[in-house]
């Protein structure tokens, strides 16, 4: 315990010395297929012209933590530099047979499942390294999923500012109010990463949260 405290103390000192000036580590967390990479791609494409990773209808498309450094977001004349960190979706179960439904071969499905389990472990490990975290939830799904609560609980314990994004508001079934009701202590922004809907409110909230980091 004492070793861990000392280790964290030195880690904080070194990271503050060597941290690139003004670069905020912005993590994208959430369950699989909520649209984390779609949102990260949308932001990266808008401000750097390049995407961060591939997206797919098949769950667990992102199986490694992906980065994009020096993403300068400009909003209403203000600028902030971010390191975007897109993480694999966190799940409590992964069944390779689920991937067979997407016409994937057995061998390929098993490989994807194995990589997905490793991705979840990697996502969890990265929780300690974030400055600000965006929890991306699918607004068409039930928000009372324990994984969502667990991620938020961990961020609160680490005193990391959190913004909840209710994605897929372009879909008729989307219910942003339900997400808000599930997390009354947090700011919830409804967006469509696919169509770039309501991103202004998202940037406003990110700028507001990021100020807490500096």
């Amino acid at each position: 315990m004492a070793i861990k405290v000392i280790k964290n103390f030195f880690k904080k000192i070194f990271s503050s010395i060597f941290k690139q000036k003004g670069e905020i580590k912005l993590g994208f967390y959430g369950p699989p297929n909520a649209g984390k990479t779609s949102l990260a791609n949308r932001i990266c494409k808008d401000f750097t012209g390049e995407e961060i990773g591939s997206v797919s209808k098949i769950p667990h498309e992102t199986r490694n933590v992906q980065f994009k450094e020096k993403v300068e977001i400009e909003y209403k004349g203000r600028k902030m530099m971010f390191k975007m960190i897109d993480t694999p979706g966190i799940a409590t179960k992964i069944d390779y047979e689920e991937f067979l439904k997407y016409k994937m071969g057995k061998k390929e499905s098993k490989k994807r499942a194995k990589e997905a389990t490793q991705g979840v472990v990697e996502s969890i490990k990265w929780l300690d390294d974030m400055d600000v975290v965006v929890i991306v939830l699918d607004a068409t799904a039930n928000p009372y999923n324990q994984v969502n609560i667990t991620i938020i609980g961990n961020l609160v314990a680490r005193k990391i500012p959190v913004l909840i994004v209710a994605n897929k508001i372009d879909v008729k079934k989307a219910d942003v109010k339900k997400v808000e009701a599930a997390f009354p202590d947090y700011e919830v922004v409804g967006i469509s990463a696919k169509y770039g809907k309501n991103l202004e409110e998202f940037y406003e909230s990110i700028f507001k949260l990021s100020k807490k980091v500096k």
Binding site: T92, D95, V120, Q146, I149
Partner: protein
């Protein structure tokens, strides 16, 4: 005449209740190991109280490490009902004090089941439903 719906075949499982006193003095490693051992034995675990957020992520991490290594294990379904997260600030402070004395948030109940048996735990503020695999 309406056809009777078949319940289908549910393979054997049991429901095990674990009082918090059984894990109160265990370290995080032992707690997670105890919980996973119960779940790996095809049991649905009902735990009095709840784990810390860090322990929950640890449980998820260890679960992921076991998939592929333990035959037929596909992960877990997990849900926590009640506890400090719900209620007024005053009620939470009161509960917080009680929990500080007792440990583990006694107002909560944690349900953990193997994904091969529990298909889904549907949760909303008013009810919780366990959907079983057939």
């Amino acid at each position: 005449m309406a056809k009777k719906k078949s319940l289908g075949k549910i393979n054997g499982f049991s429901i095990q209740f674990l009082p918090y006193s059984e894990i109160r003095y265990l370290g995080a490693d032992e707690r997670i190991r105890k919980i996973l051992n119960i779940v790996l034995g095809n049991n649905i675990l009902i735990l009095q109280g709840k784990l810390k957020a860090e322990e929950e992520t640890r449980l998820i991490g260890d679960t992921m490490a076991m998939i592929g290594h333990v035959k037929t294990f596909k992960g877990i379904e997990l849900a926590v009902i009640g506890g400090n997260g719900e209620g007024s600030i005053f009620a939470n402070i009161k509960k917080g004090l009680a929990n500080a004395l007792a440990g583990g948030d006694m107002g909560a109940v944690t349900i953990i089941g193997p994904a091969t048996i529990v298909k889904e735990i549907k949760k909303n503020p008013k009810k919780i439903e366990l959907m079983l695999n057939r």
